[in-house]
Amino acid sequence: MEKQLMKGNEAIAESAIAAGCKLFFGYPITPQNQIPEYMSKRLPKIGGCFLQAESEVAAINMVYGASGAGARCMTSSSSPGISLKQEGISYIAGAELPAVIVNIVRGGPGLGGIQPAQSDYFQATKGGGHGDYHLIVLAPGSVQEAADLTYLAFDLADQYRTPVMVMGDGMIGQMMEPVVLPQPKTEAAAPKTWATTGYNGKDRERNIVNSLYIEPSVLEQVNMRLQKRYQVIKENEVRCEEYMMEDAEYMIAAYGTTARIAKKAISELRKQGIKVGLVRPITLWPFPEKIFQKYTDRVKAVLTVEMSCGQMVEDVRLAINGKIPVTFFGRTGGMIPTWKEMAAEIQKLAGGVK
Amino acid sequence: MPKVTFLDETCKGCGLCVRVCPKKIISLSPQINTKGYNYAEVTDMEQCTGCASCARMCPDCVITVER
């Protein structure tokens, strides 16, 4: 299995193809353009379909259609474009369709900036479309992880008939690292008996892909069904890295690129005798609350670091449930926190510079 | 002799068939169906030519035409 030097965006695209993604619908937006560009080159060569849609709205609805017809398909965008997709995502969740949506996050709000950020956490995990639904949200911290999690996303989407988001900060999409790409799937996927593939009146009932249930008692049942599904996902699909937590007295909570920088801060702090570790959620939803709860009587305080004004910190606080102090440090607008800034925050928690 | 059959219970009494019948032999009944509509009926089947104008205009597929 050979390592290739690849840009995160391209590794995501190639990995999706390895997972059997045959259709890609997207729209240009910085910093994810390499994904549609790569797909436009690769998909026609393997009998797939690349289509640049007229907007991100159209793209997510093309995903809805293709997914409803039983195909593995995806779209990608960045923050403002993901905002546009929210209605479509809600429809996909409500219609119980599998789909993979990639968000390479840039500074916001509004047109914002093109540099990396992590300010879409709320949008991804607490909404951002209407209704009671959840996206499985996977947050890679390296190009390798971006490839692996994209590959996984398709399986999770099909398994649970739910949309899955792969959310990388802009750095993950743009940087180049050595990666071992996942092996292309060889066996055919299980047939989707619920898909709209044509009704011949014999083999099955007519299939309708739909999220409209005009009877409230029926819609409630549908919601209960979705909630049960989310419960199963919460019980089975949490992914999280615990780094140097065995003897840690202080915890840094961070994900994506921020977590990598935190590891540097941890290594420098440990040289000074401060025992600090990292809890890095890889699934932002389901959130690894049980893992945080494990440490509330072993750790003195938690520093949450994000490239935002503080979004994941709210889930950290909820998980910690007031047992120990949770503080926040963030840079935003595309600014990247430095390990020194993080280290200084931990030193404050530890009672001043040693 | 051509014949048309109307499904009284499906008819919504919209009157489009009445308008288009070239022989003017359709009218809305003074009776109502269970949904409360005055359903359409043929007053003089002998005159029916089986042209199917009524059936073609009916939005609810109430009418079957035999010839």
Partner: protein
Amino acid sequence: MAVVFSKSKVLTDVPLHYCPGCTHGIIHRLVAEAIEELGVQERTIGVAPVGCAVFAYNYFNVDMQEASHGRAPAVATGIKRALPDSIVFTYQGDGDLASIGTAEIVHAATRGEKITVIFVNNTIYGMTGGQMAPTSLPGQVTTTSPYGRDVNHCGYPIKVSEMLSTLDGANYIERVSVNNVKNVIAAKKAIKKAFQYQVDGKGFNMIEVLSTCPTNWGLTPVEALGWLEDNMLPYYPLGVYKDKGGESK
């Protein structure tokens, strides 16, 4: 005696929920007959809009997808690209297609998507209670143009068939009406041709059907046909606007 006219098997047994005299019923029937006569029922997939026809998936005896408002052409694109051998149609009203969905219909047309679009134009928003549509006529009174559509304030209606016919990607565009039997027969022919073209691998195909909304126009169903004849036919002329395979305006 033989049965010369009966309900198509491409329509389910579910009674239509449309208002008495609503021309949706006629148009549904014509679409179903076209699908049946072309023998493509088993590979047809329809896309329902948001609008009065939101429950269209209950009436067509084929696999169906419900799209979000305006996005049916994009959903249809996804289906057709995933299953190129399927016959895909969208069924959309004037709000769905000409307001929120303007980008989607223009781009499906310009891409030459090999789909069939049935565009039901009744110059008003039916399902939501009679608001102005992009196709509402100058001076037309609606619940959001209570003094009549003022072209100085909110402009002129969109002539969708004319507009889309300028696109090289469009294959067949015809405007028809269902106000009388002669026009219903012509509409059926056009709709069947729009499906036939897709069977032949050609696209983009659209039939704009001038239709009535008795309830929101405040008229009886028969009066509504008259309103269509007096007001809509002059503004939205019937005819073939694009036909790569034949003659057009």
